[in-house]
């Protein structure tokens, strides 16, 4: 097995560009590693040996290989990103046998940059969940402790990157779905500003919140991937027409004088003591880097959970209507059209998906729309305003990514509210449409990773990368799960 297989994105790309190793060699090694170790995690739903080797050969043969930022870098994709001719399931039985006829925009971008897609990664069904236990194809295990959840919904992506099954991965984040699993698995993830990355080919959960984001083992790697996938796409009307800065270059800069906002009272409730201690430590480290710590108020943050479960479920109830057995995927024939719809969707969707479709259908129904959906949108505006006010006093806002370290598989699965509370810190930036990063900031006494979340104003990903990289250097984070 090639030693570079567990190297960073930038190291692998450099080696392939310099001709020290071929993309095919790296890919063979990565596929072998994934084959050997996936059983312990259940991270990959599908490994595409043939496609990966073919892409690697194309990279090796490419005349401009030396200019490819992700030359030969092994990637995994959350299985809600469309891949041409390769099964794309959203971890749902309803997409049984479905292989899209096209690649998602981000997949095209990755391939054009020389990346090699090894396969598709497990998730909570349709990205709905915080533990990856809601997968129709079995839960993913946390590489730090396989009795524990990797977080979710991009649990497969975070676990695979943490254990070195791929150098980096793409996940999607609607309310914390790249950040919380990154926190649980001790890796870095960026949730870009809404509109920063095209959603074309990302199977929608909640269209107004969904963003594709990179997961990697260090900030620089994540920054490089973000630079590759960000930018305007003429097929997504919500993608922003703004220049893409050189994120990677931001990793070198110091953060002296940067103002870090700490939300008053935010970790008092519901946070594990280890998380509170890690936050206090992070604060000191940032202060030591020359950051100014300021306290900010976010009075409407406490409504984020309620707002999210109205807005996101409303959109989901409509987005998931197309899965009806008529054109693709699972079909269970009934007595007539209505019956076929019912039987197909009953058999195809899991419990959590059904719960959210019902919630969303309810809040959009005549007579309830104003009381729920419309009001939620108004409160969402207040949450945005909280941030706007906070950013008058600070450059970034810091919070924990999640209130605890990884919990046990099965611990919360029967209590949706407890599960939803996992997202209290990640939801507000999502609702505000602003970028946020999760970087490792320590371990609990059980040696479970803890994540620090930093949020910046819209389209200030560069600022996030800059402070996250500086923090990463200062904290000296180099922990890897057993078996890495």
């Amino acid at each position: 097995m090639h030693e570079l297989v567990t190297a960073s994105v930038t190291e692998i790309a450099q080696a392939v560009r310099d001709g020290k190793v071929s993309a095919v060699e790296i890919t063979r090694a990565a596929l072998a590693r994934a084959d050997a170790k996936n059983a312990s995690l259940n991270a990959f739903l599908h490994v595409d040996h043939e496609g990966a080797l073919a892409q690697a050969a194309r990279v090796d043969a490419s005349p401009n290989r030396t200019g490819l930022p992700l030359a030969g870098v092994p990637f995994g994709l959350k299985d809600n990103l469309c891949t041409r001719g390769v099964p794309t399931t959203c971890a749902s039985k309803i997409l049984q046998g479905y292989a899209p006829p096209y690649d998602a925009h981000v997949v095209e971008q990755l391939r054009a940059a020389g990346a090699v897609v090894l396969g598709k990664l497990n998730l909570d069904e349709f990205a709905m969940g915080s533990s990856t236990e809601n997968s129709a194809f079995g839960a993913v295990r946390n590489p730090w402790d396989t009795s524990r959840a990797p977080g979710g919904s991009s649990g497969g992506s975070a676990a695979a990157v943490a254990l070195g099954l791929s150098a980096a991965a793409l996940g999607s984040d609607t309310g914390g779905s790249v950040r919380q699993p990154a926190s649980f698995c001790g890796v870095t993830a960026i949730k870009p500003s809404y509109g920063r990355v095209s959603r074309y080919g990302l199977i929608a959960f909640a269209s107004s919140l969904d963003q594709v984001g990179p997961i990697a083992r260090n900030v620089r790697d994540a920054a490089r991937v973000l630079g590759v996938i960000a930018g305007r796409d003429s097929r997504d009307p919500t993608s922003a027409d703004r220049p893409v800065p050189n994120y990677e270059a931001e990793c070198e800069r110091d953060v002296k004088g940067m103002r870090v906002g700490v939300v008053r009272g935010i970790t008092d409730e519901g946070c594990a003591p280890a998380v509170q201690q890690a936050m206090a430590r992070a604060r000191e480290q940032l202060a030591a880097l020359g950051c100014e710590i300021v306290e900010v108020d976010m009075p409407h943050q406490k409504y984020a959970l309620s707002v999210y479960y109205i807005v996101a479920t409303a959109e989901a109830s409509s987005n998931l209507a197309r899965f009806d057995g008529m054109r693709y995927g699972l079909r269970v024939n009934g007595d007539d059209l209505r019956d076929t719809y019912g039987k197909t969707r009953d058999a195809g969707f899991g419990l959590e998906v059904k719960r959210r479709i019902m919630l969303g259908t309810y809040v959009l129904s005549a007579g309830y729309y104003d009381a729920f959906y419309l009001k939620a949108q108004k409160v969402q505006t207040l949450i945005r305003r909280d941030y706007a006010q906070a950013f008058e006093r600070c450059d970034v806002v810091m919070t924990p990514t999640a209130p605890t370290g990884a919990f046990k598989l099965g611990e919360k699965i029967d209590d949706p509210l407890q599960m939803y509370l996992q997202d209290v810190f990640t939801l507000p930036p999502s609702l505000a449409g602003i970028p946020a990063v999760s970087v490792p900031c320590g371990l609990t006494p059980e040696r479970l990773p803890i994540g620090l979340q930093l949020a910046a104003p819209g389209f200030e990903e560069a600022r996030l990368v800059r402070i996250a990289a500086a923090f990463e250097r200062a904290s000296g984070w180099a922990e890897r799960p057993p078996g890495f």
Binding site: P101, I203, S318, R327
Partner: protein, 489 residues
């Protein structure tokens, strides 16, 4: 209605916008392609696909809105109308709901000498559904053709201000004609480019409150409109005056059976759960775009009619016929212009002559199909033909006789006249020779004329023209006859 009831009608027209591609993707909207050959991930609603609005469709709807005097919303919002049906790939239709592109317009028309101004409540953009083909295979299978899915439509909703089926028909005809002149709709009823639903209710005359309405679907021909509405009105009046009540429902017009049939009752109607489509930012229309639409408006039929009457002196009937179709109107105006230039006629006189010939000779050969019209000849050909008449090279009769050989060809009338030796004889000597012959053959009639029975002149004209195979210049023939008959008296 002599029954003591008043009819209240509101119309919803779905007009296909005249674009090359669909409302949210680049697929062609060409009619008649093999099933499912004009589709892509977007219009079959594949997972992960996203809609991208067609700027041209917005521009066309905007033009219609401006022409119909609507207020244009600078930020209109696409909304999802959620319901399950296989012709709806996403199981929701992208439409506009609370905040449509255009509102508060009007359509004016005259009917039986009375002016009407019907409010247009709104014009909004939406995507068409696919087409379900029932009874395929063994007869129990339904197949879906998604070629039509995503075709850009605008829905034009009138106020409940039409009071008879005749008004409804006139409204539709004027709207149809207006949209064609604007170039926003091809007007093709058979291909479903212009479809109409009618909301019909009745109420006792004098009552303010509206009666329970019935939505009539599938009125896709002007011929059906009156029949369908009259049937529905009679049905409702019979119900109400018999002590019954009208049920809020949707009915479909079955022309074969000559009646409307119930489709579904509104009491079991679905809740469409409209909400703003999160995939689509609000549609922004700038002041400049509205101004540009206003400036680009062509002359509409109503104005054309008035101009034809006032400055060309056409009758209202002729003006109406010639202004009812954009191709015919364009043809007429061009031919009249060319004729005036070539024949030195005054524009009004040239217009009148072109109009007369079009009306009496050419129009019966013209085939229209929606926006397209086969005129048979070009304005250049017609102008040349009429110029030959003006210069007395041929007679009007000869011009009429020549028309069939020009149809469908690009031959020049002048050349045709030469080939067929049809040049009008205006040579007095030649005419005199023929006249003398004719007079010699009919001495009795000559006597009669000279005895004062001048009515036999017509007989002589006919005989001379016959002898000259119609080529004699009628004016000269007349003059020579008069001269020679009176000479001998």
């Amino acid at each position: 209605m002599g029954s003591g009831y008043e009819t209240v009608i509101g119309l919803e027209v779905h007009a296909q916008l005249l674009t090359r591609s669909k409302l949210f993707c680049g697929c062609s909207v060409k009619f008649g392609a093999s099933p499912n050959t004009q589709v892509c991930p977007v219009c079959v609603g594949l997972p992960g696909s996203l809609p991208m609005p067609n700027a041209r469709a917005v521009e066309l709807a905007l033009r219609a809105g401006v022409a119909l005097g609507c207020q244009i919303r600078s930020h209109s919002v696409f909304a999802r109308k959620n319901y399950f049906y296989p012709d709806l790939a996403k199981n929701y239709q992208i439409s506009q709901y609370e905040l449509p592109l255009c509102e508060h317009g009007k359509l004016r028309f005259e009917l039986d000498g009375k002016a009407h101004e019907i409010p247009i409540q709104r014009i909004h953009l939406e995507e068409d559904a696919a087409k379900n083909l029932h009874g395929m295979g063994s007869g129990t299978v339904t197949l879906v053709d998604y070629n039509r899915a995503g075709t850009p439509l605008m829905e034009i909703v009138s106020g409940p201000d039409l009071r008879s089926s005749a008004e409804a028909e006139e409204y539709l005809k004027r709207l149809h004609e207006t949209l064609m002149f604007l170039g926003v709709n091809d007007g093709n009823l058979e291909e479903g480019s212009f479809r109409c639903d009618a909301n019909v209710s009745v109420r006792p005359i004098g009552q303010e409150q509206l009666g329970t309405r019935v939505e009539l679907k599938n009125i896709n021909s002007f011929r059906f409109v009156r029949k369908a509405i009259d049937y529905e009105v009679a049905r409702q009046i019979a119900l109400v005056s018999g002590g019954g009540r009208v049920v809020l429902e949707t009915r479909t017009w079955n022309d074969g059976q000559g009646k409307s049939l119930p489709m579904r009752s509104k009491e079991e109607a679905m809740d469409y759960r409209y909400f703003p489509d999160p995939d689509l930012p609000p549609l922004h229309v700038s002041e400049a775009a509205i101004e540009a639409a206003r400036r680009s408006l062509p002359e509409l039929p109503e104005r054309k009619r008035a101009r034809y009457v006032e400055s060309l002196g056409l009758t209202v009937a002729d003006a109406s016929v010639l202004s009812a179709h954009p191709v015919i109107a364009g043809f007429f105006e061009r031919a009249a212009e060319l004729l005036a230039a070539q024949s030195k006629l005054e524009p009004a006189a040239a217009g009148k002559k072109a109009a007369n010939f079009l009306q009496s000779e050419l129009l019966r050969h013209v085939r229209t199909n929606g926006l397209s019209a086969e005129m048979g000849v070009s304005p250049e050909q017609l102008a040349e033909l009429l110029t030959l008449v003006e210069s007395a090279a041929i007679s009007g009769k000869q011009a009429k006789a020549l028309l069939p050989s020009l149809l469908g060809t690009d031959r020049r009338p002048e050349q045709l006249v030469r080939e067929q030796g049809l040049v009008q004889v205006s040579d007095t000597t030649a005419i005199e020779a023929v006249v003398r012959d004719v007079l010699a053959q009919h001495p009795d009639n000559v006597k009669l004329f000279r005895a004062g029975k001048t009515a036999v002149l017509g007989f002589f004209v006919g005989q001379v023209m016959k002898a000259m195979k119609g080529a004699g210049n009628p004016k000269l023939v007349n003059e020579v006859l008069q001269k020679l008959l009176n000479e001998g008296a």
